[in-house]
């Protein structure tokens, strides 16, 4: 199914640039692999292939496939739609909190970071009142704490709050 991107003006993003970028990144990765393999030796040793034999050929195939995709994209004017701008904005609105969340885990510990993430979503996207938000965003990490720390005995990353509470 191809949508024409001429209509609706800037409301949709075509697949052209994403395809080119992804293929470009894959090509870069392939070149990286090949470069490192040459260092480990890509030929045949005394008892079989050297360490870089496989990775080099894998990199070669990856490079070949990426170039094929790149050429395909550069030649044809793609009319396929990647996503509407509204959709992309929704995706970004989830992606950025995820990145912030992961950054916070190392700093505040996973339980506190999770509470903040849940609270953020409930307030920003769910428009819930503070009472319910507090209850759920504190309750869920507490449940996880009980399940993981006490039941499964799998320690997760803790932060300053837990240290202060002596956990």
């Amino acid at each position: 199914m191809s949508d024409s991107s001429e209509e609706a003006g800037g409301a949709t993003v075509s697949t052209r640039w994403p395809e080119i970028v992804v293929a470009g990144v894959l090509l870069a990765a392939a070149l990286l692999v090949m470069f490192d393999s040459v260092r480990s030796g890509i030929g045949w040793g005394d008892d079989g292939p050297r360490s870089g034999y496989f990775p080099f050929r894998i990199g070669l195939l990856l490079a070949g496939a990426s170039v094929a995709i790149l050429i395909g994209q550069l030649r044809v004017r793609s009319t396929q739609v990647f996503a509407e701008r509204a959709q992309l904005s929704m995706v970004i609105q989830v992606f950025v909190p995820i990145v912030v969340y992961v950054a916070l885990i190392g700093w505040l510990g996973i339980y506190v970071a999770s509470a903040l993430l849940i609270a953020y979503f409930m307030r920003r996207h769910g428009h819930y009142g503070w009472a319910l938000t507090a209850a759920v965003s504190v309750g869920v990490p507490l449940v996880f704490f009980a399940v993981f720390e006490r039941w499964f005995l799998v320690p997760l990353i803790k932060g300053p709050l837990e240290a202060w509470l002596g956990l």
Partner: protein, 504 residues
């Protein structure tokens, strides 16, 4: 027959109280996972795998495989009630399942879906019971060259039979291999592609990739549709179940056809998702009124569900006997077996009889119990989905993060999970298939080891791969599948030239 007595022994292992408990927990967790987006079958098993390290392997695999069944069942619930496929293999179920629900026939659609799943899985387990020991005995003749040929066949068939353009399938697969190669080379002891980062020493774990690709990636994709879950309601009572079962008997041909498609797609690496689409397409083509498909024809629910479950279950057959997973979830289970120190393959049936037959017996039990559980608990799952996305989405993200962390207790893995999530999002949007990458990540090291061992035996000669009829035929088939798309392109060009010549 040997198999029956082994199976009875397996039932003895599976029917112990703790294992039955694990079965129930597994099924309930599985349905929950199947129902929630972002927690799919492969992903859910991947997250829970590290937690089972403290359990004994038999109980652990029983629970994990029941999670798998549960997820297979659960995907149908959201497809039919909410028009949202909870799993990739439930997409085809939405085509006719949701229209049926809109007409008020949700209960019939759900019963049909669950029963079809049950039948599909049952046939596949029977296949496993009788074929697995045979295949295992056959596979005892396999040496490193034969194993590599089979693995080559697996990967070539992905390229050959994939709907996506071959360049993208190859790219995805090669990326998986490249990621698998990072870290310590077990043969020479050299470090590959670590670029001086000690954290890359152990390489990339397939579990992290799966959680990122199928978990975070799925959440990002779901976000495109916004944050709303509005669905139809359904109550299943016994009368509706009986009536629907009566209806289903009339469609026995569809069942047989779908089971065959499913088992085939499960054993050759395709998996449940392509099986469901293929089966739906075949059912529509062979039906007397194809236009009714997509409007709520019950066959449109039977065909994909039967095939998907048959495929998902039979994917375990090559996994257990040859060490070749037939689906991404089977790949995760394979990884689990390796982590527990169990080598899948022919020796598993010889050395670990308790484990293997306990697992097979639990498949029968899990299937029956799963059907009963799911028929009775539909309103509960529908209620779970009424919890607004604003609450569920962050909880799923937290579960994924915890899952990624518990694999190696490494914060780096959580970061990696997000990176894989982005990769998963872009790959899915741009139609790069994910399954070959996951498979390559899991099998990459093994395939390389087989190749090197074969080279050691043959003193560097590639001719070992055609040295005997078995290896030669497998290799030949692999190359044929690889060149299949090329053949299609050539034929298309020839036809176009003929048409142009005829026109002028």
């Amino acid at each position: 027959m040997d198999e029956i007595s082994n199976l009875m022994h397996g039932f003895g292992v599976a029917l112990t109280l703790p294992n039955i408990g694990f079965m129930f927990i597994g099924i309930l967790l599985g349905v929950l996972i199947g129902v929630l987006p972002g927690l799919g079958g492969a992903n859910g098993v991947a997250i829970l795998l590290p937690l089972t390290f403290s359990m004994n392997p038999t109980s652990a695999i029983i629970m994990l495989s029941c999670i798998y069944w549960g997820a297979l069942f659960g995907g149908a619930i959201t497809s039919i009630l909410f028009n949202i496929p909870g799993e990739p293999w439930s997409v085809a179920t939405t085509f006719d399942g949701y229209p049926m629900a809109q007409r008020g026939e949700a209960a019939q659609a759900l019963t049909a879906a669950f029963t079809s799943s049950f039948v599909g899985a049952l046939f596949a387990v029977l296949l496993i019971t009788f074929m697995a020991p045979l295949l295992a005995k056959f596979a005892l003749k396999f040496g490193p060259a034969e194993f590599f040929a089979v693995q080559l066949l697996t990967f070539c068939s992905f390229v050959g039979m994939s709907k996506e353009p071959p360049a993208k399938t190859i790219a995805s697969m090669m990326l998986g291999f490249a990621l698998a190669a990072v870290g310590l080379d077990s043969v020479t002891g050299q470090l590959r592609m670590t670029f001086g980062f000690p954290v890359l020493l152990k390489g990339f774990d397939f579990l992290i990739a799966v959680i990122g690709l199928f978990g975070i990636g799925e959440i990002l994709l779901t976000m495109e549709e916004g944050l709303a879950f509005k669905g139809k309601s359904a109550r299943i009572n016994v009368r509706v179940v009986w009536q629907t079962w009566g209806q289903l008997l009339r469609h026995w041909r569809t069942f047989l056809r779908s089971v065959s498609v499913g088992c085939w797609m499960g054993i050759t690496p395709g998996g449940a998702t392509p099986a469901s689409f293929m089966s739906y397409g075949m059912a529509r083509r062979m039906s007397k009124n194809p236009q009714s498909f997509g409007q709520g024809n019950i066959e449109g629910v039977i065909a994909p569900e039967t095939a998907a479950h048959a495929a998902g279950t039979s994917a375990l057959l090559p996994m257990l006997t040859l060490g070749i997973p037939g689906s991404p979830t089977a790949a995760v289970l394979l990884g689990g077996l390796l982590i527990w120190g169990l080598q899948p393959g022919p020796m598993l049936f010889v050395e670990q009889k308790d484990f293997v037959w306990g697992l097979i017996a639990s498949m029968y039990l899990g299937n029956i119990v799963g059907l009963l559980v799911v028929l009775t608990t539909v309103p509960f799952w529908a209620a779970v989905l009424r919890i607004p996305f604003a609450v569920i989405a962050p909880v799923i993200i937290v579960i994924c993060a915890i899952g990624a962390y518990t694999v190696h207790s490494s914060m780096f893995d959580v970061v990696l999970m997000v990176v894989f999530g982005v990769v998963g999002y872009f790959f899915k949007k741009l139609r790069y298939p994910l399954a070959p990458m996951v498979l390559a990540l899991v099998l990459g090291d093994m395939a390389e080891a087989s190749f090197r061992q074969a080279m050691l035996i043959s003193q560097g000669s590639l001719a070992i791969f055609v040295s005997n009829p078995l290896v030669g035929s497998i290799t030949g088939l692999a190359l044929a599948l690889l060149l299949w798309p090329l053949w299609g392109v050539l034929r298309g060009l020839a036809k176009a030239r003929e048409a142009a010549a005829a026109a002028s």
